[in-house]
Amino acid sequence: MKVQPAILSKAPNRSVRYVYLITVFFLTLTGFGQMPIFKRYYIADIPGLGWLAQFYVTHYIHYLAAVLILALVSYLIIDYLILQKKRIRLTASGYVRGTILAGILVSGIFLVLRNLSGGRFVPEFIIFLDIAHLGLVMTFLIVAGYCMVRKRRWVTQR
């Protein structure tokens, strides 16, 4: 039997792709919501978006979305290694996006550890984590936008 690849850009895995896109959307939205900008710039005034100005709410949803992305990334990596590796390979843009995403996840994990009671890093490292996390997200959005416009896929057939 032919094994269907669980890749983001293939029709049989549309559900995985949608889960990924929705998760990334909420991560980005609530991530930017950690800065006090949505109220200042009237976005939280839009009916239904008032929660964007509530820091504990955006923080909680960011964590929820982080749970999803961690599960999804783990699923895709293992699926690739045990089922897809012979059939498909990561493209150059896939490597770039994957590397940036890995950086976002690693810096995010450190920030989660920082937020635990007793979790303390030196202040300079925390500043580095905050800036790195935000910088990597912005880089990821630019690269992802470019790939979307230029129709660059994460993977291709071997």
Binding site: P36, H62, L70, I78, I82, L83, N115, L116, L129
Partner: protein
């Protein structure tokens, strides 16, 4: 007496404690000893002793004057217009609330003690939470927690977004517009000054000195020491006066422990609350909801891997 014990405890961890104490003629006040930096230090406030003289308020202002904002005027025009300009530079003498120029104030309550109406006064400032949301949720790392439990805002980094105030259960940090890093970035479009609050005289503590408010108090209202010892003392004092404790469990624990002869619920009803005037209500763990998801985060990769392996097993079975 209590003050002497507390000061001794405060200095216990000092590298040069013995030498410092031997050399010092004023007990604890200027001992040349560095406190143990990794121990969370807490303060105990016996509010039955407070007479509301404001000696602590004056000492705080005097000692921390060089940390106060020096805003540049005129302020940059802010966009959009809803962004509030918060200027306290012309009201630096305000002492009846927290401001960027007043990090400690005396709160007044009229309560019934043993059938007698009585005024109770208590010093209010940052509670220095054990797990401070202002520090944890600051998007730039401008708010930081020192290993000795002090949370402070770095005025060189803070952009004045006021998030720390919004997430603080007591709305403690106060903003001054027209100062800080934001002036060098996009002053009209991002940031709005610097947030200020009590830093419990971190620089004095680092040099083995007491915070100014503790040193100046003529009634020995406050004592400082390792948190576990301060908690023990608070319980002993509460038992002795049949009193009540605030700050031990608020927001899962703070490093500012009040002991009162009357319930804090009663005090909270009568104190003036509002902007720059914190309440005395019970406070739940503000970080709990998100932090409870940490376990789910740790298990998420396991779930993802299990799903992929499950798919593999299913496909292998189908192939057979």
């Amino acid at each position: 007496m209590g003050q002497k014990i507390s000061r001794r405890a405060f200095l216990r961890g000092g590298i040069a404690a013995a030498a410092g104490l031997a050399a010092s003629s004023i007990p604890g006040a200027s001992a040349a000893a560095a406190p143990q930096e990794k121990t969370q230090l807490a303060t105990l406030l016996d509010i039955s002793k407070c007479v509301g003289c404001e000696a602590c308020v004056e000492a705080c202002s005097e000692v921390n004057a060089d940390k106060y904002p020096q805003p540049k005027k005129p302020f940059p025009k802010m966009y959009p217009k809803r962004v509030p300009v918060e200027d306290w530079s012309e009201k630096q003498d305000v002492t009846e609330r927290l401001t960027p120029y007043n990090w400690l104030f005396i709160q007044h309550a009229i309560v019934n003690v043993n059938g007698e109406e009585q005024e109770i006064t208590l010093p209010r400032r940052c509670m220095h939470c054990v797990n401070p949301p202002c520090v944890k949720l600051c998007p730039w790392g401008a708010a930081r927690q020192l290993e000795n439990g002090i949370s402070r805002i770095d005025s060189d980094i803070c952009l004045g977004g006021s998030k720390c105030k919004k997430v603080c259960p007591w709305d403690v940090p106060q903003r001054q517009t027209g100062t800080g890093l934001y002036l060098d970035i996009l002053p009209s479009f991002a940031g709005n000054g610097v947030m200020y609050k009590c830093d419990r005289c971190y620089n004095r503590i680092a040099e083995g000195e007491l915070p100014a408010c503790i040193e100046a108090c003529p009634e020995d209202v406050q004592t400082i020491g390792p948190r576990d010892e301060i908690i023990q003392k608070a319980h002993a004092l509460a038992k002795e006066i049949n009193g009540y404790i605030y700050g031990e469990n608020e927001n899962v624990g703070t490093n500012t422990i009040y002991v009162s002869p009357v319930p804090f619920e009663a005090l909270n009803k009568t104190i003036e609350k509002g902007k720059g005037k914190p309440h005395l209500k019970p406070v739940k763990d503000t970080m709990a909801q998100a932090n409870n998801l940490t376990t789910a985060m740790a298990l998420a990769p396991v779930a993802g891997i299990a799903a992929a392996v499950g798919k593999f097993v299913k496909l292998t079975k189908n192939r057979q």
